[in-house]
Symmetry: C2
């Protein structure tokens, strides 16, 4: 099974980068830009920028470039960030807490609605999570910046939780040896998207399984992305020893 036709995975990651750069430009009061400017900031070629954008539409004006506001709006839409995603975090150790408080996340329509763990010392604790910031504050400034306090609940209550309110995504920040069963809990609770921060791969199927992975029905339409920062550490070690093998970093899809 090869890459699906159409859009390279790497292009999606780069799109995220372009969107971040557009936000930077907006903060710098720059109204118009070009593939060249975006390319310089994203550390790719201008060809690459134009090609990546072309996968999704025509957003520029020939001879003139792109207007920051418009391109930003379009990329936001393309990436699915113009809606709100309800997120639960499973695993509220230091990493889970770091994720919950990472300021960037809440700005981009990820809204934390539930926190889960199994540690009795953590359960019941209230944790402050940032709320979604309104990106263009209208005339009446709404008090959305106030952080909310969420209680940490036991994973066994996850299914009951999702039965009560919709949950789109689950962020997994448990130790690697518990990642598979925690993922299983998320799937059984009906969560269809998992971002796994544990340094192990989630097997979409059964918790235990030596042979052929029969993909069970509940996993059928579950999307899993892995973010393993040990990989980053080790890649760095490798390229320190082999600098000649390093290219101009095409942003390794994280």
């Amino acid at each position: 099974m090869t890459t699906a036709p159409g859009i390279p995975t790497a292009a999606v990651s780069r799109l995220v980068t372009y969107l971040r750069i557009l936000e930077e430009l907006e903060r710098e009061q720059i109204l118009n830009t070009s593939s060249g400017v975006l390319a310089a900031r994203a550390q790719v070629s201008a060809f690459q920028v134009r090609k990546d954008l072309a996968y999704f539409g025509r957003f520029g004006t020939r001879g003139l470039g792109y207007t920051v506001r418009l391109l930003k709006r379009e990329l936001t839409r393309v990436l699915g960030l113009n809606r709100s995603w309800n997120v639960v975090i499973v695993g509220m150790g230091r990493l889970g807490q770091a994720i919950a408080n990472y300021p960037g996340a809440s700005e981009y329509q990820f809204s934390y609605v539930g926190l889960f763990d199994v540690d009795p010392d953590l359960i019941g604790q209230l944790l402050e999570v940032p709320t979604r910031r309104e990106q263009h504050v209208s005339i009446v400034k709404r008090a959305l910046n106030e952080p909310r306090r969420l209680p940490i609940e036991h994973i066994r209550d996850l299914a009951a939780f999702t039965a009560q309110q919709p949950v789109d995504l689950g962020f997994l920040a448990v130790p690697p040896e518990h990642a598979q069963t925690a993922a299983q809990s998320l799937v059984e609770a009906g969560v269809k998207g998992i971002l796994n921060f544990a340094p192990t791969l989630i097997q979409p199927g059964m918790t235990e399984g030596e042979g052929l992975q029969e993909i069970s029905d509940e996993w059928r339409d579950v999307m899993v992305e892995n973010v393993d920062f040990l990989v980053g550490m080790k890649r760095l070690a490798f390229y320190m020893l082999n600098p000649q093998l390093k290219d101009q970093d095409p942003e390794g899809s994280t």
Copy 2:
């Protein structure tokens, strides 16, 4: 400037995954394995596994497969993890603390020797960091598992610090708006490898610079890797909306 000849960047990331799987196999007391087993666990094809390994040497026995212990040793060597890397963390907020305490890191020869920040509330605090675990405890079990306590120091003392003891790598966990200047501090202190966790790209060159990036001398041989988990979040959002564009996850590097 395209990818350097030879080894695909993605292959390096996959190698890290294979190494982790070999450690899992060792823990499961499995002595021998094959490209097929590694492939199933790494969620790639067996062809891919053999090709990736072939970039670095011949580690198997035809007709028999690989011995776990030997292949693990070789991959450890290839990835540069058979030596110790001295690491400072810059930015000791929640993310920096999560990194410092991430158990996997210290197992793999990353040794935290210094912690830095600018926040007066943090400076002076002692933080427990795990020490490197001996991977094969010899007859005399050495008390290396005891965590050490490191003080958080001010970034302005970084150069003095590196003058006193060798620092190989710097892990950056500061807010994105300070990432570039913090990276600059690392480079000025002589640190040659930077792993950037902030959601922004480090520009190898000047702190400020609109036009052509003149790569200054101090940055000449500095290696930068980026690990941005906001990218992972947003990629997940995109693929939730466009599941048909998702392939069998070739492990996107970060």
